[in-house]
Symmetry: C2
Subunit: 672 residues, 2 copies
């Protein structure tokens, strides 16, 4: 019954035929080799093969319907992954639960997964913060999906500042219990994914009190609902926080606690402990908790760069299919990808998504290395790792969200359709700007790291690798000569960054001298802190891209693939240089003619990338199920898909909705 | 039963108490005097007084439920406005239908109005494009709500390029009828508001054919549905296009036509005509149709600047209530508005919203003047008016949408709640970037106007007023001296604009000399066209703001109010200069110390505005019903409102949703 042709749109066919490189080469490079790419494709076909395509989109449904659907999807996917794990690698955990939240599986849960936090945070939290016995008792059951959980930290009135949490856990020596309370409306736990109705247990983060004496923040395993009836237990006020901009099916919840008693042994006590007599044993190091946040931020960089690549694919394919506005008056309407202004909307986002993906790979390597160090009791690189993860999380979430939105707008009116999927992608991408550390807060932390580095430099101490460029860059009095080479552009960025760090440091110092406290001075210099942090992160992204394209890895790639990657790098660097030109011009003499030459390079590289744009996006190798877009499917049958999706809308089930008879017609007939 | 206090949040009370100026003075200025402000308040209380506050938000509902509700709301509001019109000014039209789409009434239709296009476009279209008899026959019935209509121009495969429309109307001389067809899927009408189910008539824009000979685009009055049964008539395939990013209740529809016959006299024939014998009489001027587009774009500037002011109000009030992250470690968490980085997110948007509001007022004045000219057969200022409306529509829609989004992000996680209303405001603001002329298409048109102006300048011909600055600015070889005064900043912007126009013109010319056609050369210079257009529009906005604050109007305001406006202007100009510094530095010598001084001015004016920020937003005088935000209500009872809204969610009606019993529990018990 479907009107969608089985053939590929001829405009897309033509695009693919004229690409200058082999798409499979690109896909192999992008996905890290043959084995990984092959498994990814097998995995996708396995989990998507029996999904029902006949239903309309969740966006048409009520909040209750979306939740019910999301819950069912989460369960189905879990079943499939368990089965696949048993088939492929019995007893392992590389598929279940490792791939439960993988971008390759997103298409199975279009409105989000109410159990993702359960696996992404709660199970891991019990493992890292709980004792081995606690893991046996709670963690295993959670891992086996015998209980479901949430991770409740944020409160209605309290976010990143943990010590400000109002939820309290008072130790009751007599009964060997903690008594948990959320004494005010602002102390209600708010936002945890899955907390609303999906979870029956929860890790609650609260301030610990012994004899009314605050001991700092600790984590507590709290049962929320009866395991048989799923009804909330006494003293528990739990529910869903209602609709959000996105993640409609994630079941973000609230939780009020009123004299809820739990055994003392439900406090997660791997690090800090409370003994039966009320003795508080402090944690030897808070380093591991800190490192979990770093892990999540690395994950965000990978996921958000993926979202930007997805949106690039959708908008680029649509731009090759859509015809609009003649360039030459007597010719037919061209593919909109032939408009130079359209290329300027698409291609920089493709390049940016690749830049962040490469940075995320580098970030993971650094993460693994740091994790190894930590195992050996070596915490030296942690501040550097933390600063880098903060700046990349902030930059990538911001740039990917803005990029997705620019790509949506590049699709004109149809980009506004829910079925285009771009608005949904945007709502997922932008959420990362405020969760897991609000971006500005993170950039301010990076700013503090940069000020510290500045002080170390002045004290003649060595700098950690990712900021070592500062050593040379801060010494020079501006860029020696603008040549516009890739290396020169990177150098100009680094010197501009060093200049920004220097003046930030000077302004901070001046404020301290004027009698401001360190904290006040930092707040008053906050805008420059964030600017310096942004530039610092950008230098890392640019250097990483440059290294990948011009470094030893080039030897493993075909010349045709290298040429495409060089074009993408050229676009990224020229565009970045233009974006930060107001900073670069403060440290470099660049004539107006040279600036015009840079603009020409931008236009030239857009032209060079034009024939390869569709093929590059094909090389990202997204399954149609994961794009789930009427505008962006591989076959390019855009109009048929939009049409079919509209026809599925429940509002079209009857030719005349009842409200017309009950309200509109009586009103129209009433006359004035 | 409501838990919302009747009192105002003490933090907000303090903010209001310390403002440096009288809020009522600001409101009077902003709303154009006592009479207007008084009526606005009366109007709002009249239409909002009996609205039901107990229901949960439409965002929780299904698409069908939202449509039904929107339709009822549209009818209720129409009834109220008619009644008010009769009470206040019987027989007039200054309230009904004039205020049906007014921002002051938005709160009555939170998901949009399926009848807004009926009044905003269809009635006006019949009046402007139809003959007087046609207006009697169709227009009056439409105005009286006896029939409901839509305006169907855009097709699934065709947008701004009108001649590309595939829908055709063939004249049948034998029956004196037109036969309308949408021969392909891409020719289906797509997007018209209200078309889905609310409309029973429609103005269809189609290519007119006589004896298979194309005569160009014309408009046709087509009945879609039976007036008694509301069932689609034979040959009509009509329905709703499904969920979009926003405007959930607007009932955007599709329309397919298969041999639909209408009388010849249903073609709107004020300008062009088809006579019974098939003679085609051409329109003497297409100027009026063109002018309607200008009108709608002026409207967008006003509406979108209002949305930005609304979002500013929400985020500023929330920032005064929310406490987060100590500045000094030993002090309690401050209002987040005390973080300088937060001020930098809020205050520039407040200033920008005012800048665009002033520009929109100026634009209306120019519009009225141009309309007067047209009545006298004088079309000379139309190109200028068109260019200005294009650039302001593009800039204001973009900056307001981006601003609303920045303000949403400034509210952290809670900005992501549907009940914060910021996501909904964003989806409305951003829609204006692609509707009524896609922004890039409009900026390219402005670019062409600038190139023409350049040619006129070179030919020694005089320039129209809004571009006259070019005359001087293009001659000088850069800014003589950077002083940083307001006038000097404006001059620097104008000279940077002139420089951009000049190099754009040179690059265009070089391409023409190299043998490219005018159209190809324009496409290849497209990026610079849009950059020049953006700068040109920015100069107008800056000049208008400067004129309002420092010009003769200042005499009518209190010194305290003038001081606030001066601070807002200072912020706007300094921030704009920094934003375009990469362009300004190409034409001005500004030392690094001068740039640092500019940064200091930015920080100083943020500090100066800090005590007045809440009061300025109060001065916008938005009714709580129009803000409809848990974060932004006048009383600042943020947490209670978020809490109450969550409790209303239908998902919380039962403690355990059925899907838990039917799906989750069986799965959890199944074990592995």
């Amino acid at each position: 019954m479907s009107i969608i042709p089985k053939t590929v749109n001829p405009d897309l066919q033509k695009e693919r035929a004229k690409a200058s490189f082999n798409v499979e080469d690109f896909a192999l490079w992008y996905h890290g080799g043959e084995e990984k790419l092959k498994f990814k494709r097998f995995f996708e076909s396995y989990i998507f093969k029996d999904l029902d395509d006949s239903r309309n989109s969740f966006q048409d449904w009520s909040h209750e319907e979306i939740f019910a659907d999301a819950l069912k999807n989460g369960i189905e996917l879990a079943k499939k992954l368990r089965k696949l794990q048993e088939e492929v690698n019995p007893g392992g955990n590389d598929i279940w639960p490792a791939l439960y939240g993988s971008p390759d599986a997103w298409g199975a849960m279009p409105s989000g997964n109410p159990f993702s936090v359960h696996f992404a945070m709660m199970v891991g939290c019990i493992r890292q913060q709980g004792t081995d016995e606690q893991y046996e008792k709670f963690g295993k059951r959670a891992e086996n999906f015998e209980i479901t959980g949430a991770y409740a930290q944020t409160e209605l009135g309290h976010g990143t500042f943990l010590r400000g949490l109002e939820t309290r856990a008072d130790f009751d020596r007599k009964t060997d219990e903690f008594v948990l309370n959320t004494p005010t409306i602002t102390s209600y736990k708010w936002w945890p994914g899955g907390l609303g109705h999906a979870a029956n247990y929860c890790v609650v983060v609260a301030n610990l009190y012994i004899d009314n004496d605050p001991k700092g923040v600790a984590m507590f395993m709290v049962q929320l609902r009866d395991e048989k009836t799923h009804m909330p237990l006494p003293g528990i006020d739990v529910g869903d926080i209602g609709k959000k901009m996105g993640f409609a099916g994630v079941n973000n919840g609230y939780l009020g606690l009123k004299n809820v008693r739990i055994p003392r042994t439900n406090m997660l006590m791997r690090h800090a402990q409370v003994l039966p007599d009320g003795t508080y044993v402090k944690s030897p190091a808070s380093v591991l908790a800190y490192f979990t946040m770093v892990f999540v931020r690395c994950l965000i960089v990978r996921n958000n760069s993926t979202m930007l690549s997805m949106a690039s694919t959708i908008a680029t394919r649509y731009s090759a299919v859509r015809r609009q506005s003649p360039i030459n008056p007597k010719e037919p309407e061209p593919q909109i990808i032939d408009h130079v202004t359209q290329q300027m909307k698409l291609f920089p986002e493709i390049a940016t998504s690749i830049a962040y993906r490469l940075s995320s790979t580098k970030l993971w390597q650094l993460y693994d290395q740091t994790a190894e160090d930590i195992k050996c009791g070596e915490f030296g690189r942690l501040p550097e790792m933390h600063a880098l993860a903060c700046s990349l999380k902030a930059l990538c979430s911001r740039d990917s969200a803005n990029g997705v939105e620019r790509l949506r707008l590049a699709c004109g009116g149809h980009g506004y359709l829910a079925s285009a999927q771009l608005a949904n992608l945007y709502s997922a991408a932008t959420a990362a700007c405020t969760y897991e550390g609000e971006n500005t807060v993170l950039l301010l932390q990076v700013g503090r790291f940069l000020m510290k580095s500045c002080r170390m430099l002045m004290a003649g101490k060595p700098l950690v690798p990712t900021i070592s460029y500062l050593q040379d860059a801060i010494k020079v009095n501006g860029l020696e000569k603008w040549t516009g080479s890739w290396q020169n552009i990177l150098q100009a960025l680094q010197i501009a960054t060093a200049h920004k760090i220097r003046i930030t440091f000077e302004n901070l110092t001046a404020r301290l001298k004027a009698g401001q406290t360190e904290a006040e001075a930092a707040n008053n210099t906050g805008i420059e802190y964030t600017q310096a942090a942004e530039l610092h992160g950008t230098c890392f992204v640019a250097a990483t891209f440059l290294e990948e394209v011009t470094g030893p890895n080039a030897k493993n790639r075909s010349p045709a693939l290298n040429k495409v990657l060089e074009n993408l790098l050229e676009l990224f660097l020229v565009n970045t240089a233009l974006k930060y030109m107001h900073e670069i011009l403060r440290v470099a003499n660049i004539s107006d003619m040279e600036l015009r030459a840079l603009q020409t390079r931008l236009e030239d590289v857009l032209k060079a990338l034009r024939p390869d744009a569709v093929a590059i996006c094909d090389g990202f190798d997204f399954h149609d199920r994961n794009l789930k877009s009427t505008l962006g499917s591989y076959d390019g049958n855009v109009y048929e898909r939009i049409f079919e999706e509209a026809k599925k809308s429940p509002l079209n089930k009857k030719p005349v909705p009842d409200v017309i008879y009950t309200h509109l017609q009586p009103f129209m007939k009433a006359k004035m």
